[in-house]
Subunit: 405 residues, 2 copies
């Protein structure tokens, strides 16, 4: 794997181990690192010197060590390296700039261009990524790479979008190499749900680290975290739940997936078809995800404003989602469900008051402690996760081979 | 944890590491062990001496080592230790005696007594376990323990059967301590599907080690294996799939679970209700799992003999099971499905010719290489897995704390 324009040299394994510990344990001392890593004090001294010279870590004011020797706390230099994450939802494009400490520096949400030509979207992404780095005053040599979270199915190893039902013009698009070419950055492509679970896990301190993440956006998907590991699936396409039957008595929505399926229960397209059927709003152009997204926003606004029909559609959606979540919790025996994605902000007020009890009613084994909550990361969860996957790729001691550039 | 009547002393961690390597790599030499474990040659020499003295491993005839030095192959002594596994299906009780090499020495299948009094079943198990050890000529001091595979939900840590819908009289039964008392052996309790997946994984050499195991017995359940690890779930109750809707148009079976659910699709009770409804056989007493099991055998025999109505019931069951398997594969992105359990032998001839194509038709992501096959272990898969869990508990370097005795 060549490094493209990237100036940082992080290939040394021991150095990666040390940087990883410092990232996860701010304030750690050289003596701590020696104990943790088993490396010699001379090696620790050399590596920390190199990391300081590379501006990846910083020393702060010394405190008193255990034996009275001064102990110098080390922490990552937040400005030492960055990554960019982009989440392509068919309706919303989210871009995040992450610093080495894992903090979001800048973020932006755009309407995804409904281009029939993927290169237009690629060009827009490249343009916005450059603008974001420039706005943040970030030297592009300090940007490790670009992570893309996209709806599946994907060939993650090849960096190719296969045939996502929601991005009909994207079949076979070499998204990773196209974006590498357009940005000059190393690029990593991963599934939206996997990226979202990665960010959610990082922000899950104190909560159960076994959970199911339910992604609600223009599509629906799930990811599974078991013992701190985000499961990916053998082909990296974990979490295709749209066809799980959640309401055997549901009507067939014209031209829409499996009758009574999880997708038909809660994706914006299905919700607005139902709303239009009740005359609550005009049926939008169903080939235009922006029009669908806007109509869905209007539906949620109607419900908030007290419209009974709109509220009933969303309430029924919550009931059906609960059946689907019951399937996942019964199967996987996880203590926690997290719901997020670009649609979640609009559904939260309707869903959250009822969802925990509805899910509990679905559980075969009495699991009093199963929690159902919204994402603690926010609407940018998948973009942030994609950026975190890039940091992990370059900085974790076990780099994977999914990066282009 | 005290050891009860068990005379074997296996507590030393390094010794456990070495024995584990010898178990998994028959023919390994002391030099190999030194390289694998990182332990000193003196330590290896001491440990192997102790294991030989304890009759847990054996030396065989020396071959030529890499440098011409004689290299003595080590292997476990098959007769050095044993474990017993018992699988309690509501209709069939399976008992297996496993030797230290993981081979089944003896096995037995009985009709599960339909006792309203669990102590009667406990006494029968204790009696049969003693008879099996005696028949095999096995010194009980060489039997490490007894593993019980039972339908969930269980409290595995406490060794208690919670409220299995299929064993209505077993609510809150302290099965582990009862059987410890009745047999004098250390006892481990685990879920039937978890035990089954453990045995299937062990026999999966050469096949994908990510798979879903579908258990078909008096009930239906699943287990999930990811990267060689049998997932257990947070409360050890993974795999409750009976309520997954697999046919929205299914009839409601009187007094039977969720309409159109996975359980209603394929458990013997549901199948014989359908058969009786068509007049193919008299409706058995639905409180008697033996009567249900016999009626189900009769139904499968009718289908084999060319009865069209019986064949249609089983064919429809296969179609519904395929929908449920589609849910599991789409969600988990596994390359392999294994079907087994006490009902499988009777369904295999109907299911296996059609199931792979039916499952493939359910998959959202084209996964050409997803295989659907019957268990390679056989009908005793859960009992064998329970016995393997006992061996692992005592012999693996990371003992868990689930054993009583």
């Amino acid at each position: 794997m060549h490094r493209g324009s990237n100036q940082l040299q992080l290939a040394d394994f021991n150095q990666a181990v040390i940087l990883d510990v410092v990232r996860r344990s701010p304030g750690v001392s050289r003596a701590d690192l020696q104990r943790t890593s088993g490396l010699s004090s001379q090696t620790i001294s050399n590596i920390t010197r190199r990391l300081i010279d590379d501006r990846l870590i910083l020393e702060s004011a010394p405190g008193a060590g255990a034996r009275g020797r001064p102990s110098i706390p080390l922490a990552v230099n937040r400005d030492g390296a960055f990554s960019v994450g982009v989440h392509i939802d068919p309706a919303r494009l989210t871009i995040v700039l992450l610093d080495l400490a894992g903090e979001v520096r800048l973020q932006q949400q755009l309407r995804t261009p409904q281009a029939t030509h993927p290169p237009e979207v690629t060009a827009l992404i490249a343009d916005r990524v450059a603008a974001l780095m420039s706005e943040a005053g970030v030297d592009r040599d300090r940007v490790l790479g670009l992570g893309i979270a996209a709806p599946g199915p994907l060939d993650v190893r090849a960096g190719v979008v296969l045939d996502p039902p929601q991005l009909p013009n994207w079949r076979g698009v070499q998204l990773r190499s196209d974006l590498h070419e357009a940005t000059g950055l190393p690029v990593l492509l991963d599934k939206d749900v996997t990226a979202a679970a990665t960010a959610e896990l990082r922000s899950s301190e104190g909560a159960a680290t076994d959970f199911v993440f339910l992604y609600l956006g223009s599509g629906v998907g799930a990811s599974v975290v078991v013992e701190n590991q985000v499961l990916r699936g053998t082909t990296n396409n974990i979490g295709e739940i749209g066809d799980i039957i959640v309401d055997p008595d549901a009507e067939q929505l014209v031209g829409f997936g499996r009758r009574g399926g999880f997708a038909a229960a809660c994706v914006p397209e299905a919700l607005v078809i139902q709303a239009a059927g009740l005359g609550l709003l005009p049926l939008p152009n169903l080939d235009d995800y922006l029009a669908i997204d806007d109509a869905c926003t209007a539906l949620c606004d109607l419900a908030s404003a007290g419209n009974g029909g709109a509220a009933r559609i969303l309430r029924r959606a919550a009931e059906r989602v609960a059946v689907g979540l019951g399937v996942l919790v019964n199967l996987l025996d996880v203590p926690r469900v997290v719901v997020g994605g670009p649609l979640w902000n609009r559904l939260r007020d309707t869903f959250l008051p009822v969802l925990p009890a509805l899910v509990a009613a679905e559980l075969v084994v009495a699991r009093e402690n199963v929690t159902v909550a919204g994402s603690t990361v926010g609407e940018q969860v998948a973009a942030q996760g994609a950026a975190e996957l890039v940091l992990d790729h370059f900085l974790a001691p076990r780099p994977s081979a999914l990066m282009m550039g």
